[in-house]
């Protein structure tokens, strides 16, 4: 599961507004609005560095944040949600 490579749309395809801990995202290509909680915004931001699988994303995020429980499985679960929402897709 950690092997799948994910990509996100360019940052200019998404308008985001911070809402005191949550982030509202308007995805221009689909016209959909999403409310996301951490770590989803961090995953999307880490994907802006380029396509990556769950393990690579975990490493990118761990370089910035102190992770309480750093499992690639948790990242993969978040990626599944983001894929269902149309915010990321498999490369």
């Amino acid at each position: 599961m950690a092997g799948a490579i994910y990509i996100a749309d360019d940052a200019d395809a998404v308008r985001s507004v911070a809402l005191d801990g949550l982030v509202a995202l308007f995805h221009l290509p689909s016209g959909m609005t999403h409310i996301v909680a951490p770590p989803a915004p961090q995953i999307l931001e880490a994907l802006q560095q380029g396509p990556a699988d769950a393990r690579t994303l975990l490493a990118r995020i761990a370089a910035i944040y102190e992770l309480e429980e750093g499992s690639a499985e948790a990242i993969a679960a978040r990626l599944d949600e983001l894929e269902t929402a149309g915010l990321v897709r498999r490369a």
Binding site: H34, A40, E66, T84
Partner: protein, 138 residues
């Protein structure tokens, strides 16, 4: 969802670009959900989603070929693909975009180009409403 939010210590959700300090980020349990999607007024039912069609390309670009990245190019451009002989249905587009399954009667390379075309659809383009409705969570 509340569980994953409460442990985030950064007020603005943090930023990879300008971290002021190493904030604690909880990745959440596998079962916790961190995404809520607000459904737009279009595409009220799953039935209408699956029955809609996406012309590739739209009628205003009829005859143009589709490059591998989904852009429209002149017919015969090397590396591009002729448009499909029929519109792609919502159901086909959904499986194509998710898992790369190729609709009947299309080869996989062409289908990937069509998938990229569909991903590039913008509001106002033919098939956009169908594409947007495919993004709705089940």
């Amino acid at each position: 969802m509340g569980e994953t939010m409460s442990e985030q210590s950064s007020k603005d959700g943090g930023s990879l670009a300008n971290p002021t300090r190493r904030t604690v980020l909880a990745l959440g349990a596998a079962a916790a959900s961190t995404v809520v999607t607000i459904r737009p007024a279009l595409a009220q039912t799953a039935g209408s989603v699956m029955n809609c069609e996406i012309p590739v390309p739209g009628p205003q670009h009829s005859g143009q070929y589709i490059a591998a990245d989904g852009s429209l190019v002149a017919p015969g451009t090397p590396g591009s693909f002729a448009p499909p002989s029929r519109p792609i249905t919502g159901e086909e587009a959904k499986t194509l975009l998710r898992g790369g399954f190729t609709p009947n009667g299309m080869d996989s390379q062409s289908a990937q180009a069509y998938a990229n075309y569909i991903r590039r659809l913008q509001s106002g383009m033919s098939g956009f409403t169908c594409y947007a409705s495919l993004q709705l969570p089940r």
